[in-house]
Structures are given as C-alpha cells and as structure tokens.
C-alpha cells in the first residue's frame, strides 16, 4: 500500500545474515526498519477501513446525505432530534430492541448457567452434552433462522403439531404481532446458549475445590454454597458474559431480518433492522448513520452501568 514512502527499507522476507557481532546502533536501525516496514502497511489498512469510516460516520450524521441526491447540506444535530421527535418507527425499534434484550439476556444467562452447573456436576458424557448444546452456535444465524421458520409454520409446523398433541391450540407464531418477537428470541437463545455454557463451564472449573470443602465443613448447604462461593468467584466470568450477551442482543439483526423482516406491523423491527432499511431501502445514509451513533451511545452507557453494578455488588 502507501507504506513505502514513510520508511527506508521494508525488511521483507528472511533477510540475509549480517555480521555476527552486530553493534547496537545498526541493530537498532534494523529493528526500526522492521517495525515501520511492517506496521505501516497494517496501520494504513486499519486507517482506511476503521478510522476513516469513523470520521465519515460523524460527518454523515451531521448532514442530510442521500446517495441519490446531488447535494448534502449540513444540518447540525437535526438527524438526532428527528430520530426522537419525528420518527415513531425508530422509537418503536428502540422499544422492540429493549424488550428483546430485557427478556433474552436474562433468559440466556439463567439457562446457560443452569446447563453449565449441571454439566459441571455430572461425571460422565460431559463432552457429549456440551457438544450438543454448542452445535447451534457453529451454524450461521441465517441457517438457524431458516431451520426454525418451518417449525413455526401455522399449518405444517412442528410447534403447533406438538401443541395440538397436548390439547393446546397453536397459532401463526411468526405472523402474529403478539408472538413474532418472542419466537425469534427463542431461536436466538437456542442458538447462543452454547457459547455462554462453555464460558461459564470454564469459569466454574477454575474455582478451587477447597473452597467448597471449607464451606461444607462450615455447614453450608447447596444453595448457600452456590450463593457464597460459586457466584462471587464466578463474578468476572459473569460480568463478561452479561455484557457481551447484552451488547450482542442490542444489535440483533440477522435473525429478525430472515425470520420476520421486522413484521408483522413492525412488531419485531429491531434498531439495526430499522437502520438497515432506512439506509439501503430509502438511501437515507446520513440519518441512518445518526441512528447508529445513538445506538452506540446507548450500548456504551448500558455496558458501563452493567460493569459498575455487577462489579460492586459482589466485591468481597
């Protein structure tokens, strides 16, 4: 790339062996040549595809930029105020995303912690069970979504068939505004559970057994051992899993797009899906970028608050 201009010699390939007793100065020069020769192209790529886009994002958010329009006037913060005052669909998508995260994150955490605890207690077949729970995480979100769509089918779907068998009445899970979001969420939790199970399991196995023995001697029951030994010592893992899962679900896109396309009646339209539709359906790239920056701020604030609360609550 444009790296060669800044550096004297790009030290490429295994360089010829120099004099055996190289004194410090030429050695230092060779080291710097290596550092700049390799770092420059890498940082150049990083700048073009990471730093420049950040600058463009800020610029876009302050302009009325539409790819199809000839001019893009500066409009200050009006994209941001517009989002909150004149775009009910954006507020709706915020509410949908909030609902999604508030339900799916605890559901995922509680279930994966329960599975990890169970796996940690069994003595045989642990690897087999772990594999089963982890397999969905390997599949692409698109494939996972497509697999679940026929399961939710109102006529020939398995979910309704099972419900009918139990004497319950089924419904059009993805076609009903009351259930579409929850149905997508079920697929998400099914798919993402395995990742957290593995991280929790590793955290659990890092806890020294002595702690449990001491607690037992002190007469602590199962519940109190979990509360006073496992939870505090699992804290770092817990904070990590909680933050990562929240950040992930606040950006949910693929599964809702594939399974419901945000419908019916925008009942499952998440923020990122709304941003995508504004940007690549209506070509309002400036406004869509402003919304993505709002989402970023929300994510940052929530992540910081979570880290604060979770750190302090269990600090011993």
């Amino acid at each position: 790339m444009a790296a060669t201009t800044t550096t004297p010699t790009p030290a490429a390939g295994p360089s010829p062996a120099p004099t055996p007793t190289a004194n410090r100065l030429p050695g230092r020069r060779r080291q710097l040549a290596f550092v700049y020769g390799w770092l420059a192209p890498i940082l150049a790529l990083f700048a073009v595809f990471s730093l420049v886009p950040i600058i463009i994002a800020i610029w876009l958010s302050l302009h009325r930029y539409n790819q199809l329009a000839p001019v893009s006037p500066f409009i200050g913060l009006r994209n941001f105020t517009y989002a909150f005052t004149d775009d009910p669909a954006f507020l709706n998508s915020l509410a949908v995303t909030g609902k999604y995260a508030v339900v799916a994150v605890p559901l995922n955490i509680v279930l994966s912690l329960a599975v990890a605890l169970a796996l940690n207690h069994i003595t045989r077949l642990r690897a087999l069970f772990r594999t089963v729970f982890f397999l969905p995480a390997i599949a692409s979100a698109v494939a996972a979504s497509l697999v679940w769509v026929p399961i939710y089918d109102p006529q020939a779907g398995w979910l309704n068939a099972v419900l009918n068998l139990l004497g319950l009445s089924g419904r059009s899970w993805l076609g009903d505004p009351g259930t579409a979001l929850w149905s997508v969420m079920l697929t998400s939790v099914w798919q993402d559970l395995g990742f957290n199970v593995i991280v929790f399991l590793a955290g659990l196995q890092a806890i020294p057994l002595d702690f449990y023995d001491v607690a037992k001697v002190d007469g602590a029951g199962v519940v109190s051992r979990f509360r006073h030994v496992t939870l505090p010592l699992l804290q770092r893992t817990f904070v990590f899993v909680f933050c990562l899962t929240t950040i992930g679900y606040l950006q949910e896109f693929t599964r809702v797009q594939v399974m419901t396309a945000g419908g019916p009646l925008r009942s499952s339209e998440t923020v990122v899906l709304h941003i995508y539709q504004r940007a690549f359906g209506d070509f309002q790239l400036g406004y869509a970028t402003a919304m993505s920056l709002i989402l970023m701020l929300i994510i940052l604030v929530i992540a910081l608050v979570q880290m604060r609360i979770l750190r302090s609550r269990w600090e011993y």
Partner: protein, 300 residues
Amino acid sequence: MASPLTSRVPAAAPTPASTTSGDGRSRRRSGGVGQIVLYVVLSIAAIGFVAPFVLMVSNSLKTAQEIIQVPPSLLPEHPTFANFAFVLQNSPYLVWYRNSLLVAVAVTALTLFTSSIAGYIFAKFSFPGKNVVFVVLLSTMMIPAPVLLIPSYLVMNFLHLLNTLWALVVGSIVSAFGIFLMRQFISAIPDDLVDAARLDGAGEFAIYWRVILPLTGPALAALGIFTFLGSWNDYLWPLIVINDQDKMVVPLALTYFNSQHSQRSDLVMAAATMAVVPVCVVFLFFQRRIVNAFVLTGIK
C-alpha cells in the same frame, strides 16, 4: 500459515484436557439420585436442542407433497435426495460454497499474519508513538459494527470494490482484537529468546517467523477459529456489498434461495442442510480446539 498451527497440535493438547475431562473433578459422588435427575433433565434439554437440526435434515429428504402435509411427519415416508439434486442443478450452490471458502480462508490467513506480526511488534519493540497508536487501536474495538456499516459501504464504493469478493476481504484483514490478543500472548514469551536469536545473527523477520510464530500456536488457533467462523457466518456485510448471484457467499445465498423458493421449504431445508452439515462435521473434528478457543478468548 498452516505449519505453525499443525506443528503445535501435540504441544497444546495437555491444556484442553484439564478443562474438558471430567475425572478428577467429580466432586459430589454422594447423590446417586441427584445424578440421575441431572442426566434426565440434560437429556430432555439435549433432545430439544438437536430437534431443529433433525427436522431440517428430515424435511430436506421429504417430497414436496409430504412437506405440506398436516400434521407433519417426523421422518420422511419416502426419503429422496431429489431436493439436493434440484438445489445443485438450479442454483450455483458450489460457486457460493467456493466463494465462502475463498473469502474465509483469505481473511483468516491474512488476519493471523497481520495480528501476529503487529502483536509481536507491540509486545517486544519500543518506538516513538507506540502507546498512542495502541490505544487508538484498542478504542476502535468499542465501536459496534452497525456504526461502521454505512461508512465502510461508502469506502468500498469509492474504491470500486462493491459487488466483488474483495469487498468481503480487504476490510477484515486487520483486526484490533486480533492484534490485542496476540500482543497479550507474545508478551509472555521471554525477551531472551528474541535476543539470543539476534546474537545468532537472525534477521528481524526471520525471528518473527521462526522463533515467535511457532510459539503462538494456541493463540493463533483460537484467533483463526474465531476469524474463520465470523467470516463464514457473516451476513449483514455481504447483504450490503454483494448483489450478483454468483458473487454471493453461503449465508447470503441461503436467504436469496429462500426468497426464490419461499413456498418450497423442502428445497430450502436441503440448501440449509448443505450449509450447516459440513461446518458441523468440521466442528466435531476440531471440537476440543474450538471449545478452548472460546475459553481462551472468553476469559481474558
């Protein structure tokens, strides 16, 4: 790129054993009943977890008539591979697969190279501006992907890379996370090793390639698995930059195929089966390494 990965396999094996094998940590052998209950509950949950995949394969083997039958059948009454044949004959499925493989392999190999060499430089060299550059690098990790989506699209448009496989590769070959991970790992390698190689007259790149890289096996494996899966499964970015049918990668092609044959879930399930099953088989082979990759990168 493959040699340091494969050469490290035996050396890295002892570490996984400690986290995966159950013996030695069977702490409560008391509750025989408790164990049975756990196995029963886990088995029911496991069946629920596998069921969607079983239904996917089962549906892919059904005839068009059977697929819309009410109530649905669990196993196909007349199993047929006609759906797979149809998908392969009426869509460029193998091209999609090749595209995915090409992109994921290129992204993975290049990311491993840039991350390890930059990680080595940040771990073992001092140069002016090092800390500033590193902090800038790290801070970009906090920016969620959707923010960079639209600007990156404009950059690709400017570079005339839209609708090419390059658009799926070039933006992904420098990873701040990868550089951070490799720097952490390489920092733990003693400086003496590098100095000794220098005294022996090794060139700087040779030290990186022959001394440092072979020692980073577990970290490279972890980063490689993550990068490969991330690239292989990515959907949103290809959705934005790729339009041509024969430039599509598998996840994007699946939704495209689904939209073309929305009423034929037997065909869609055959396409999905071909997308999922190979990846799962590869996973079963490398299971231990993948699990450890998640552990290594998950708990820093």
